[in-house]
């Protein structure tokens, strides 16, 4: 194998690997921009992965089999939304500390997915999943075509969502409200913005995205479901939001950096370079820290009230 195809393979693999992190990260970006830090992302992803898997699994062979994936994706987003709203109830209405509540949600989501999976499915099982959809013409472009235009539809959707989320955050009234309630909720409140409502909406959207990210894992990437399929990717998605400094493009770069590093380390191992493989496995994690340590901190970005509950009347 020559160097060119080595690099090309890393790019071809790394792009789809990044999608789950990207989808969840975009949702988490909205959450955090609105001032809520949702560590429960991991649990929502587990539930999303599980419910998305159900329609293809149970509808196989029926007349609905053709649209089973779509039903699965929709279901994952609905369940994600519901869990996002549950989280909102706990941290916005009940003002619970967000870190601990997030861990609770993570356990709850993982637990429910695992329990129901055991009872209703019973064992690790594959599904046909979402097929690749090369984009006509574009996929024929040398190199670029393979790297960018030869994937399953969710990959395109995820990357198209980056500008969409950028637009939502910075160009729409709702995005403005989201940013305001995450930075200075009291000011937003004084202008008649319903802080709690905006946070509920943000968490619902974030939940839907985390659900979709989980669905990507079970339907498009692994094409199967198993207990703990998510295996920590939700936590990484949350961490990448800090890496991306609460900007959709930054989060995309973070997800790509992580996933390309992942593809790189796997490729290094596969190339048979002789050193303990554990150090290869560490590579993406180390790289993310190093890159973040090297870039300079920008002033005044991000939600300064992140993690703090808001109540109009209560002080301190």
């Amino acid at each position: 194998m020559n160097g060119g195809s080595f690099v090309l393979n890393i790019l071809i693999l790394g792009v789809p690997f990044s999608v789950a992190l990207l989808l969840a990260g975009l949702g988490e970006t909205i959450n955090q921009r609105a001032g809520v830090f949702n560590l429960g992302c991991e649990g929502i992803m587990a539930m999303g992965a599980f419910v998305a898997f159900l329609p293809p699994y149970f509808l196989a062979g029926t007349s609905l089999a053709g649209s089973a994936n779509l039903i699965g994706l929709a279901l994952a987003m609905v369940v994600g939304t519901v869990l996002g709203l549950l989280f909102a109830l706990v941290v916005v209405t009940f003002r619970a500390p967000q870190g601990i509540a997030g861990i609770g949600l993570q356990m709850l989501g993982w637990g429910i997915a695992g329990t129901l999976f055991r009872h209703y499915v019973g064992g690790v099982t594959g599904v046909p999943g979402i097929a690749p959809m090369p984009i006509p013409v574009l996929s024929k472009i040398p190199v670029l075509g393979q790297v960018l235009f030869n994937h399953n539809p969710l990959v395109y959707i995820a990357f198209l969502l980056v500008p969409v989320f950028w637009y939502i955050l910075f160009k729409t009234p709702w995005g403005l409200k989201v940013r305001a309630v995450g930075t200075y909720p009291r000011a937003a409140d004084s202008l008649g913005i319903r802080v709690a409502r905006v946070r509920y909406q943000a968490l619902a959207l974030g939940g839907a995205m985390a659900g979709l990210a989980g669905a990507y894992l079970s339907l498009a990437q692994a094409k199967m479901f198993a207990d703990d399929l998510v295996a920590g990717r939700g936590f990484i998605a949350v961490a990448l939001v800090y890496f991306g400094r609460w900007h959709p493009v930054g989060v995309m770069l973070g997800a790509l950096l992580f996933s390309l590093a992942q593809a790189l380390q796997l490729s290094i191992q596969v190339a048979g370079i002789d050193f303990p493989y554990e150090f290869a496995v560490m590579l993406p994690y180390v790289l993310v820290i190093v890159v973040l340590a090297l870039v300079r901190k920008a002033r005044m970005v991000g939600p300064t009230e992140l993690g703090k509950p808001f109540d109009r009347e209560q002080r301190v």
């Binding site: 403005l176 930075t183 000011a187 202008l191 008649g192 301190v316």
Partner: protein, 510 residues
């Protein structure tokens, strides 16, 4: 907007409780068309709470609001906006990392198109309002880049852009320079011809200048209502605090310090600001023991950088800071503190105290490593408590107990905590930045007396303030800072409002 303009607005029997506090106690208040109603009272009297109820931010426990004789219920500020009521809040309600347009757009529902934020229309509205009322603002500036005065203007423009015909202003001048204050007062009196205004302030001369009628609030009750023109400021002050208020004055007659060496001497200090600019460009000042130097200037001319450099929070580029013979330029904050520098910082809530710490902890915040408060690394809780009890007594700090979180105290009491800590340490020199900002007259009187007492004990004091009254009352000498340079130093007794005002604007009379 859909509602007829407000001809009369009435609050009836408004009562609001917070845990353990009756903030508003059956308050009746009415405001007519095109009139200015001043609302004054001590810190914590309930002024802000009452206005928040009028804005629909708080729900009253009892009582109701009548507009043009009809009862209304405000569930959120939107309801108040719909009736044309707008408020400039006591603390800035501006999102720092957004632009001015975005801040205004947040409240302008007409710009909230289904899939797009119509910033162009907001910008147009801002330009229109700012031209009409002569309130220049740059719509595309980020809020954090603006000076305090500019931010105050943005607040006003924002409120007007939202269509306010009935304006509530909660201490709008407390952070403004004298010029800015005068301009604002002039502007408001012009505007009062077409709007109704409720004006809250601790500065009674402003109240006199602007308002038609005045209400005085004490402990949640209206204790006085009358026409402003019938009462002098000192009368009002007495009504407010329950006693005659007389702000003390420094007496530096007969003192000649030309031969004294400086206790705190600053030479040719150069310091960079947050944006890399040279915020202090060769400042030289000598402060003798027992001398108060007032540093007058429009905020943003290097005052913050000077205070921070003096206290080791900002590293000078060059120059020297000498305290009682010890060179301190570039030293750490802890070393400077140990050498006997005292500091009353600008932002009392996040720089002066740790809000969640108790009063007694805050009182030893700077000296916890000293033998008095810890031995062998272990705290001497008894001594710390006794210290707090003593200082509470001496400085009249009003708190349920010295174990109370300092952050829950009123602004005035927080300032007293800071003052008590800084003065009880027995500093050689003291840097006091805007020490009475936002405080009522009683508290102001107290703090001024304390500063003078320290002066008498030989402390060198640098008083940074925008209140010319305060500066002239307290300073032996007044230095004027402009664009990072000291323009002039004049003896306190020669300083006049006019001459200082000109200097602050950069007009040097030489």
């Amino acid at each position: 907007m859909g509602h007829e303009p407000i001809r009369s607005l009435e609050l009836r029997g408004i009562t609001k409780r917070f845990p353990g506090i009756l903030a508003c106690d059956h308050i009746d208040l009415s405001v007519g068309e095109y009139s200015v109603r001043a609302l004054v009272g001590e810190n914590g009297a309930g002024k802000t709470t009452l206005m928040n109820i009028l804005m629909g931010l708080y729900q009253p426990d009892e009582g109701h609001i009548l507009i043009n004789g009809k009862e209304v219920r405000f569930r959120s500020p939107n309801d108040a906006f719909d009736h044309g009521i707008g408020m400039v809040h006591q603390h800035f309600m501006l999102v720092q990392n957004m632009t001015v347009v975005e801040n205004v757009a947040l409240g302008m529902k007409s710009a909230h198109l289904p899939f797009r934020l119509d910033l162009a229309s907001v910008r147009k509205k801002i330009v229109e309002v700012s031209e009409r009322h002569e309130l220049p603002v740059n719509p595309d500036a980020m809020v954090w880049q603006l000076s305090v005065g500019e931010q105050q203007r943005v607040e006003l423009v924002k409120t007007l852009c939202l269509g306010a015909r009935f304006l509530i202003l909660d201490e709008p001048t407390s952070a403004l320079t004298p010029q800015e204050t005068d301009e604002l007062i002039a502007l408001l009196s012009k505007m009062s011809g077409e709007l109704s205004i409720v004006f809250i302030s601790h500065k009674l001369h402003e109240v006199k200048a602007l308002s038609d009628t005045v209400s005085i609030l004490r402990r949640g009750r209206i204790v006085f209502e009358g026409r402003t023109e019938n009462h002098s400021p000192s009368e009002l002050a007495a009504l407010m605090t329950g006693h005659e208020v007389e702000l003390p004055r420094v007496d530096s007659t007969g003192l000649d310090r030309s031969g004294d060496r400086g206790l705190l001497s600053i030479r040719d200090l150069r310091v960079r600001g947050d944006r890399g600019n040279l915020a202090l460009d060769g400042v030289t000042l000598e402060i003798a023991p027992g001398e108060i130097i007032g540093l007058a200037g429009v905020s943003g001319n290097g005052q913050r950088e000077l205070a921070e450099a003096l206290n080791g929070l900002r590293r000078p580029e060059s120059g020297s800071i000498n305290l009682d013979g010890v060179e301190l330029a570039g030293s750490s904050a802890s070393r400077i503190i140990a050498e006997g520098m005292g500091y009353i910082p600008e932002d009392r809530n996040t720089e002066g105290i740790v809000p969640s710490f108790s009063v007694r902890e805050n009182l030893v915040l700077k000296d916890i490593g000293q033998r008095d408060w810890s031995r062998g690394g272990f705290l001497r809780l008894g001594a710390i408590a006794a210290n707090a009890a003593g200082l509470r007594e001496r400085f009249d700090i009003r708190c349920p107990s010295t174990d109370t979180a300092a952050g829950s105290l009123s602004g005035g009491n927080i300032q007293k905590v800071i003052l008590a800590r800084e003065l009880a340490r027995g500093p050689k020199a003291l840097v006091a930045v805007y020490p009475t900002r936002g405080l009522d007259m009683g508290a102001e009187e107290f703090i001024h007396k304390q500063l003078l007492a320290r002066r008498a004990e030989g402390v060198a004091i640098l008083l940074i303030s925008e209140e010319l009254e305060e500066i002239m009352n307290l300073s032996d000498r007044v230095a004027v800072i402009y664009k990072g340079k000291i323009l002039k130093v004049v003896p306190g007794r020669d300083a006049t409002k006019r001459s200082l005002g000109l200097l602050m604007a950069g007009v040097s009379d030489e």
